[in-house]
Symmetry: C2
């Protein structure tokens, strides 16, 4: 392992974080925000060099691009994190036993969090602020296309940390290589938690490689079931918002499940999508129901089952016909990724059954999955959306970046 020395430095630095008060943490976050604003030129210069190598793919270029306005927004986000309550030292349980032992379960940092992300240079500052605020050291592994920008950002953070006499190794950026990802995922004893953000391919590599605890984030194969009793006005708004508000994010709708008894209403339900150019991949029954009303150029009959389970991340969507709420639940069970699922229904029993039986981080009744977001949930800034069940589930904000320990105080009691 060529990075062992880096891992050791970060682990040692993580221990010193326990001695930094929340007030000082907040001061440092505000100082980093100041430095971002003051140091725009340096960061933008590094970013320009990255962009020059990036080529012309618009979406990719746009994700990589920093501007003075975007840096102001990043600084504002960092100042916002400084205003949030500390997630540390919360007393989660407190009891005194009959023998006088005083037990407390108290929230504490994980220690060292490894973060793997692709070419989005805002993530470096986001992750630093959330890790630092929650008392965790961070080992960052960014995409190679943003490496120059990331290095300039981490250097800026290090300068501020040095000014406050905090060990700068509380945040380190690894080389932007595949090998570094592998080393990070197997750094047993140095990394307490690893959070990969990115593509299905990355998540699958992580699953195969990781020997440290991992929280998988981001993959969202998201459904909306329009029930026999679904309200048309609500359904239209919900499907439209979930699909088209931001089609490239993980909470965007991928597949509409429609109750067979409402097939006649399907054209109306998806009408708002046509104007926005959403391409529908419909099963035979839905295709027939839509033929003639939905634009032919945007309508495709599903040839095989490969469509189901696709995370589109674009203006496309599956449409499938089901007979009952249980058929909808079975489809979600088979094809969903445990991220966000919704039902549109006026039937309270159906809503309750859907909530009980759907196994996902976020289950919606008469609301769009686009709400799955830490800030929307009132949790403050988020580091990602967990699709697993161990540790955090759903939006991971500051509280979800802590673990706990038990403190037991006695006076010489012994166990019989």
């Amino acid at each position: 392992m060529t990075l062992t020395n880096t891992f050791k430095k970060v682990k040692a630095a993580s221990k010193t974080l326990a001695l930094v008060s929340d007030t000082v943490r907040n001061d440092i976050l505000n100082a980093v925000a100041d430095a971002i604003v003051a140091g725009k030129d340096t960061i933008l210069k590094a970013n320009a060099a990255d962009l020059e190598k990036a080529g012309k793919d618009y979406a990719f270029y746009d994700r990589l691009l920093l501007t003075p306005d975007r840096l102001d927004a990043i600084a504002a986000d960092m100042r916002h994190v400084a205003t949030l309550p500390s997630p540390l030292g919360r007393i989660l349980k407190d009891r005194t036993l009959d023998n006088g032992l005083h037990l407390r379960r108290v929230s504490v940092p994980f220690g060292v969090i490894g973060m793997i992300f692709e070419a989005r240079p805002n993530v470096t500052f986001d992750v630093f602020s959330l890790c630092f605020k929650s008392g965790n050291a961070a080992i960052l592994k960014g995409g190679k296309e943003a490496d120059g920008t990331n290095r300039a950002e981490v250097e800026l953070i290090h300068e501020v940390l040095r000014r406050y006499n905090v060990d700068p190794s509380v945040v380190e950026l690894l080389p932007a290589t595949h090998e570094a990802t592998g080393e990070l995922l197997t750094a047993v004893g140095y990394v307490d938690l690893c959070i990969p953000r990115g593509s299905k391919r990355l998540i699958s590599f992580v699953r195969d490689t990781a020997k440290v605890p991992v929280i998988e984030t981001g993959a969202g194969v998201v459904h909306c079931y329009f029930d026999e009793s679904g309200d048309m006005a609500k359904g239209q708004r919900i499907v439209d918002n979930a699909k088209t508000r931001r089609p490239t994010v993980c909470n965007a709708l991928d597949c509409l499940l429609v109750n067979r008894k409402r097939l006649a209403d399907l054209p109306q339900l998806v009408a708002p999508l046509a104007a926005k150019g959403v391409r529908l991949h419909a099963d035979a029954e839905a295709f027939e129901a839509l033929s003639g009303s939905y634009p032919e150029s945007l309508l495709e009959k599903v040839a095989d089952d490969n469509v189901w389970g696709t995370e589109w991340l674009s203006m496309q969507m599956g449409v499938r016909t089901v007979g009952t709420v249980d058929e909808a639940i079975a489809h979600i069970d088979k094809y969903g990724s445990g991220h966000s699922e919704s039902i549109v229904t006026e039937d309270k029993a159906a809503a309750r059954h859907f909530e009980d039986m759907v196994d996902a981080a976020c289950v919606y009744v008469n609301a769009p999955t686009s709400f799955t977001d830490g800030a929307q949930f009132g949790l403050g800034a988020e580091i990602g959306i967990s699709t697993q069940k161990l540790g955090a589930r759903g939006p991971m904000a500051l509280e979800e970046m802590t673990t706990y320990k038990w403190l037991i105080e006695g006076n010489g009691q012994i166990r019989k």
Copy 2:
């Protein structure tokens, strides 16, 4: 994978558990307890056959042995679990957003829990009761020496489940082979959480093999630091209780760290251990301090550092001299397993510093680590002691066998 059909059956059965109320769950647990008492002969016959093959190692034989009294105790434990509050459906957060969306974070089962354990036939009933009460299906992989007993036990449980029209596949016992362990640990999509209980060797195999989320339990390299200001009477009781109450369990003391300024008091501190035959492995300074007072036949000078970090599970203990509380913390950081650690001190600042800096599930001040136990903590029955930070940490009782989901109820709101 030869066990895929079993995994599928259990996963399907786990879904049906959501439809079983807590009252019915408790009825079934009581009915299984009745069946254990009524079916003693069958279980004891199977156990006798296992014992015959087991050989003469007393400790091993005793762990494997069931008796009518032990079965009564197991049945009583199961009835006790039935009296505990359900860990499901707890509202962990509840808020209504300004836009009227109603958010609840609600505790739910993991789904399917895989349990790997060695030749202790009481574990089968324990695990079943805790999984069933917490709404989880269980896939058991027991030790081969107890396989006949385990099969008789699971058959008994299946009979009761059938009587209550619950899918018996909510608990299944895998073949007692190494291959089955491997399949269980890689059953992605079928197993939501795997909890291995057993030796260091098993834990290490799990770490190398697992592709499903795992909670590591059981390995306890446990320290007690006797501080400069430690009270002798408390220290004697605490060290004695932590070391000798049950030396074979994971919370038993493995290493006493003594402040150099209290070396003269060391003979008195460990005096209660001599009568019980505890063999001490002491560093040079501690060896010198103990020579002449501690029985020569039970005292050994440590030749190399291999002694530190040993989990003895027997009447042996390391003794090491340190200069400060920070040296004690550094030793624990290097050699501890994150299970249970303690300090004996009258110095409040030292106690606080130890609590803040020691990274372990349970940190004790003036109390012995022998208290690390779900029932002692007032959590009810436990399935194990987690030494990791993701998910449960410390004693895992019913609440720790649940995850949560977010339920979001609206009325057609959309996100801007």
